[in-house]
């Protein structure tokens, strides 16, 4: 049996929540003040997830990078793998905010969405 001690991040109350786990089953949750906090604590112990924000390199843009995020949280243990994958990408300008940059990277359910915009540099024709 393991007891996980967490500080709840749902609201500024910052409750100290304890989650008692045996094997893969939650035996008890203590210290929460609301059901959202309780659900959060259980998920944080059994299958923690995070939204990932980073930048991706841009080709032909006025900016060298564009900011992106996963549109839903992904399992914490897959963050590194996702980051390594995104490091190999280069997207073509223009990119506008909200645009899906990658659908389901590495078979994940999430999409990678641009959180900013990058204009394309005007290409000058060569005579």
């Amino acid at each position: 049996m393991t007891v996980y001690k967490l500080t709840c991040v749902i609201c500024p109350l910052s409750c100290s929540v304890e989650v008692e786990v045996e094997g893969n089953r939650v035996k008890d949750v203590r210290g929460f003040s609301c059901t959202r906090g309780k659900e959060w604590a259980v998920e944080e112990v059994l299958s923690p997830k995070r939204v990932v924000m980073t930048v991706i390199q841009v080709r032909g843009g006025k900016e060298p990078v564009v900011s992106v995020k996963t549109d839903s949280p992904i399992p914490k243990e897959r963050i590194r793998e996702l980051m390594s994958y995104l490091a190999t990408l280069e997207v073509e300008a223009p990119i506008s905010i909200g645009q899906v940059v990658v659908e389901h990277p590495l078979g994940l359910k999430t999409k990678i969405v641009a959180t900013g915009s990058v204009e394309a540099v005007e290409t000058r024709g060569h005579a």
């Binding site: 709840c8 500024p12 924000m53 930048v55 990078v65 900011s67 914490k76 905010i97 959180t115």
Partner: protein, 406 residues
Amino acid sequence: MMYDVVVVGGGPAGLAAASESSKLGLGTLLLDENPRLGGILPQCIHPGFGLHCLGEDLTGPEFAHRLIEEVRRSDVEVKTQAHVTSLAMRSDLVKEVTYASPQGTEAVQAKAVIYAAGARERHRFEVGIAGDRVAGIYTAGEAQAMMDLYGVMPGRRVVIVGSGDVGLIMARRFALEGAEVVGVVEMLPYPGGLARNLMILRDFDIPLYLSHKVTEVRGRGRVERVKVVRVDEELRETGEGFWMECDTLLISAGLVPRVKILRRAGAIIDPATGGPVVNDRLETTLPGVFAAGNSLIINDLVDYAVEQGRTAAKGAGEFVRGNGIPTRRWIRVRREGNVRFVVPHMLGGDRDVWLYTRVSRPVEDALVEVPEIGLRRKVPVLKPSEMLRLRIKAEVEGGRVTLVIK
């Protein structure tokens, strides 16, 4: 050219102030020094923006986009790359704002000014870090701009000074991009950031050194190591300390309101906030000059900066229409107990207002009171790092208001 309102600064507070001012039917000019609007938001690619004021969890660039769209849809005239260099009071009703633009130096006149020029970061010299002057010492915001706007990796092994939200968010940013965060060094005996950001330390196995400070940097061209010394409760250094090997030192030691122009124009500055003294319209001691956002107080949520921008715009509207805020017996908000600052400093007693306050030291089971209006609230935890926001009712008995935190 005479405007009703000139807004100085196109970050969250300034954008909100400009939209609101235009909504009130005021002829509004927004001046911003950067080529693009949004202030610091475009480089804050993490989430946590808009939870209160939009009920959504957005990243900085997304939140900026919303505010900018609102301004674009309004009648606000926008000038970017306009760096305000001075503010002069021509009379109580006319102000002159001088700014440097790519075309040269220009000046405009306004009946009211909303000053929302943001803050700057404390740097290594201000926090007393001695040693070598080498590459690899950056403020958190500078490193953030390098990574998220300019696409440059500042270093491989990072030590971060300060465990506030900015420091923690940058710890995650570095760790995500494959750098090693050697440690976060915090002078105080408790961490500065919000609980949700403290989780970053656990997520990435980053050591936190409480009651420690970085005193010295050594290196030839780049940072090679920094000296870390334990401090006692009075923040005095104890013992010889130890060296941490790193190539980058990030300074996240707090923000300072950028009020040089306000101070030079004659506004009274509150040493407790570093920002101007204001009344409940957020009007400074210069009639018709209002302040909002991080120039007023260092906020920990963008939502508050937006709220202050709107409050200031309403004040500016009242000033423009009434040719001044009607004189009244202003009620000074007094502080008692564990209160580091409270803003606004003066209340008119004619409207409900938000008070923004911080405690000096962390306290559990705190009692927050404003006895004159019968406000009495229990708060489980109050920390200096988390601003407390209180609604104060208009009717104030006996012309006194005291904020007491125990």
